[in-house]
Point group: C2
Chain length 304, copies 2
């Protein structure tokens, strides 16, 4: 596990860090983005802006829906034919809901030319990387990615060419991952100005359960307890604390289920902390309560 | 209980709504602000900017500390002599930590001239209004206020003359509250562009436990569970969800203790909802999980 806010060059594969080479060359010729929503649209916008690739193909079930993204110059072509896009692309990024990624990658891989690289933006990596570790056609490689960027908003209309700038993108290689494929994947994300952290799919899922998946559940539960008559009293504190609860319930149901064991472990850890708070409050233990609040403040202030 | 985002004139006391009269007259002559932090400083700045009062006196234990607020034109005088300020003022606003308000008001009231009005900005109203309902000198009236505005930041350096604009200010009259005093209090807050809601101290504490006090505890508990090695993975979602955990632990210890029974009730309601989520997740009940997430989203979206 490498946990680096901005990995210094010597800690990362040296030839990947040849930035002059990177800035002068495309990271791929033809990029296919499968699922052009907020993230897919932002990848397209970011890649076109930085000339990371020559051509971007948007793949969606309703190509007409994507004409707006083409009109903005983010996509060069739109199609609902995944196989046709896979035949043409040398890099595919899957931005579909997590539970659809494995099937989509398998379907696309059958049409890919040898040397094609496939990655994704799925929020859970263990099940996806585990299932795709083997079984893909020879010469086609899948490597998991998770850019830690996004929004509770949905649709390419909210896409942002700067969404990945300065953000972490986690790559989750497995035993069978090639060094060359990993370098290409890293180069692509770095061309969008993300910085790269490598870790195992399992370590990723453990960390993200605590920092993203369970917090979503906690925020949704808090929002769910608010009764309608108290809504006028929900000021900025409540609004911030529950903002992410506006995320798509279908999407988050799948994320939580795909990372079930880790999210349950985070939930239990949180419930134990809540019990500590409850006991201190019920017993009027001001010092204990203050100490617990201080621990929260210290952790939060450390992020700022 | 009146729950109105922007109370239409006919629902509020008619003569208070005579805005032409309000805008032409001071709401008080001399305002004393006891405790000039973020809220007290913002009241001073807002009142001076709008000429709500003629003179503003800042009362603090370290008057030298308040010279910066005087230099900015928010205060006309600074003192550590509460009795002297109380003798001079016709309106006092207590912005001290909740557990200090009752003693401060009692001390000030002994020095006040008859006709002086005292209010506060305390986040918990039951204990304060209960204790101050009787026992003040004749002619001196205390009426509880709680402007729903603030920040996790501390100090008058973060004061904002627009902090109350468009925000709700809850007034919590009790059986002994005079109509005239209530109108004066409302007029003062409305001169800072807050809008007024009246409710009992008990209803206030019930609503605020759910929308502010318990959410603070929940956010602090979530921040407290974050282990140091996972900090780099805490993206905007985690940061927003835990922002309020940066609030002052001492201040929040007192708020939680002052509203203990209501906060415990909110905590228990939340813990029950968490258990519903846990069961759905553990059992892989996608539909139940989605329904729970949808309930959170609906409530959250209703605030936007």
């Amino acid at each position: 596990v490498r946990l680096l806010e901005k990995p210094p060059p010597h800690l990362y594969n040296a030839h990947v860090m040849n930035t002059s080479e990177e800035s002068l060359s495309h990271t791929a010729d033809t990029l296919a983005i499968v699922g052009v929503g907020l993230l897919g649209g932002s990848i397209a916008a970011a890649a076109k802006k930085r000339q990371s690739v020559r051509k971007v193909i948007g793949v969606g079930r309703q190509p007409a829906r994507l004409e707006g993204a083409r009109a903005r110059g983010w996509l060069d072509a739109v199609t609902d034919d995944l196989a046709a896009a896979a035949r043409e692309a040398d890099l595919l990024v899957f931005c579909t809901p997590v539970q659809q990624i494995v099937a989509g990658v398998c379907q696309a891989a059958r049409a890919c030319r040898p040397g094609t690289l496939i990655t994704d933006v799925g929020s859970v990596k263990g099940p996806i990387c585990g299932e795709l570790e083997r079984g893909l056609p020879s010469g086609v490689e899948f490597i998991g990615s998770h850019p830690l960027a996004g929004s509770e908003k949905q649709g390419f209309e909210f896409a942002d060419a700067e969404l990945f700038r300065g953000r972490m993108c986690v790559l989750t290689p497995t035993a069978g991952t090639s060094r060359g494929g990993l370098d290409r994947t890293a180069r692509f994300w770095r061309s969008l100005e993300a910085h790269i952290v490598e870790m195992s799919p399992q370590d990723h899922d453990h960390a993200l359960a605590e920092t993203s998946h369970f917090p979503h559940l906690a925020a949704a539960a808090l929002a769910a307890t608010l009764c309608a008559e108290h809504r006028p009293f929900a000021a900025t504190g409540f609004r911030d604390t529950t903002r992410i609860a506006s995320g798509d319930p279908e999407l988050w149901t799948q994320i939580l289920l795909q990372n079930r064991a880790e999210v349950l472990a985070s939930l239990d850890k949180y419930a134990a902390t809540l019990r500590d708070f409850r006991r201190a409050l019920a017993d009027g233990e001001a010092e204990t309560l203050k100490r617990l609040l201080e621990q929260g403040k210290q952790n939060r202030d450390a992020l700022a």
